[in-house]
Symmetry: C2
């Protein structure tokens, strides 16, 4: 599996990804899942990937090739974020045309998801999720984050803390906690964690970080978070016990 996260708030964007790829539990390895295609000063474009590694690598390769070859349509030439999302979707569909039948006949799922976030001239910063089928959805102020991969473990902290008005700084820390909680609870998600923070209208990524499992900061926030949660549960008000009694007898007796 993998876990990637794209968050779009008033102040800007945060994109983050783990680096684990696994085929079952007995083949686990590390691959970069976050790629920066920005042109500093002109446009910011960051993509995260999950799903079948051969598919996502092929798509990322194609994205890189179009830029290298100066193709008329590339991440360095397309003028809207929506068009960027559709363009990536088209790349996914092209790989499907090539590989799908070969994967299907051996029961291998053609499955991949992309997150792409950034800002193009004259547009606000945006984040899109692109599906295996090539269609896409966009993060909105009501739902400012999009997740791909192993999304469940890390969702509650996002649901509980993130709003469109949250500060970028707080969002970045939430994203790290969301990924770290997932790593803690599921071996299919693992370090290093790559994260970028983008301030709206700066057209340049000024904050990026890569955290290895051995990183002292990661150890520090883990310790901090666990002690904080412990303390918070200790101080939480107690339930009023014994306001009801729960029946031994099922109330749906079949007799």
């Amino acid at each position: 599996m993998t876990y990637c996260l794209g968050i779009s708030v008033k102040e800007g964007l945060v994109l983050a990804a783990d680096s684990r790829t696994n085929a079952g539990v007995d083949y686990i390895s590390s691959y970069q899942k976050l790629f920066d295609f920005s042109l500093p000063g002109e446009r910011v474009l960051v993509a995260c990937t999950s799903g079948n590694l051969s598919v996502t690598q092929a798509v990322v390769h194609e994205l890189g090739q179009d830029i290298k070859m100066g193709a008329s349509e590339s991440l360095h030439s397309i003028s809207t974020m929506y068009a960027v999302a559709r363009y990536i979707g088209q790349k996914i569909r092209n790989i499907q045309k090539e590989d799908r039948t070969w994967l299907d006949q051996d029961g291998i799922k053609f499955q991949c998801n992309f997150l792409v976030g950034g800002q193009l001239p004259g547009e606000p910063p945006e984040v899109y999720l692109i599906y295996s089928q090539g269609n896409c959805i966009q993060a909105t102020p009501e739902t400012p984050f999009l997740q791909i991969g192993e999304t469940k473990y890390g969702k509650p902290i996002l649901d509980r803390t993130i709003t469109y008005d949250s500060s970028l700084d707080a969002i970045a820390k939430c994203a790290l906690l969301s990924i770290d909680s997932t790593m803690r609870s599921n071996i299919s998600v693992g370090p290093p964690i790559n994260m970028v923070l983008y301030e709206a209208d700066s057209y340049e990524i000024r904050h990026r970080v890569q955290l290895q499992s051995s990183d002292p900061y990661l150890a520090k926030i883990r310790k901090y978070w666990e002690s904080t949660l412990r303390e918070a549960t200790q101080n939480m008000p107690e339930p009023e016990w014994n306001r009801v009694s729960i029946d031994a007898e099922p109330d749906f007796s079949l007799e």
Copy 2:
């Protein structure tokens, strides 16, 4: 779906369950998932259920019938927790024998999980998870909690806070948060929440609670928890940005 939780620590046990049953998202209803089969003063036995409702209801009905009929083997006569777990497993297998082929032929999964926790004379308190296949596993000091149903959302908080030495009071609050976080993030888990707290060697459940969605306590802890998490992320140390740069070029270029 459903989400149930059984926790076994030094001081005793906590069992908790939501009450949601859904067939897809367009048929959602409430059923009790936590059943108390205790004989106060003699034995404590609490079961939680997840999976196919027709299967779990049939098993719970059988468990009740054996008690009513004074069967030689019942939850009021069996003398070890392990034997109780195997006995429930046998009930599941009996229903499989009856229903399995009929469900299979229409592509309906025969799937159910049980948690059973309690204490029988001369034994420590124990919690078991019983699978659809009738086999079982037990919670241990290294892994003091067992989950069934929609388990992922609520796992990080347990992983981060619960140890075998945690106080029952803290465990109960963690269990509520774990279930409430799941309800917040996934509509297939819903109120009322039923929870029992059992103090080791008391042979009597003295603490039980049922929380409806409208319960002011549930509203209070939600507010408390969200503000606590927000504050905690605010106060969390910042990452050291820009210690690495993330390549635009995939390092696995296919050329």
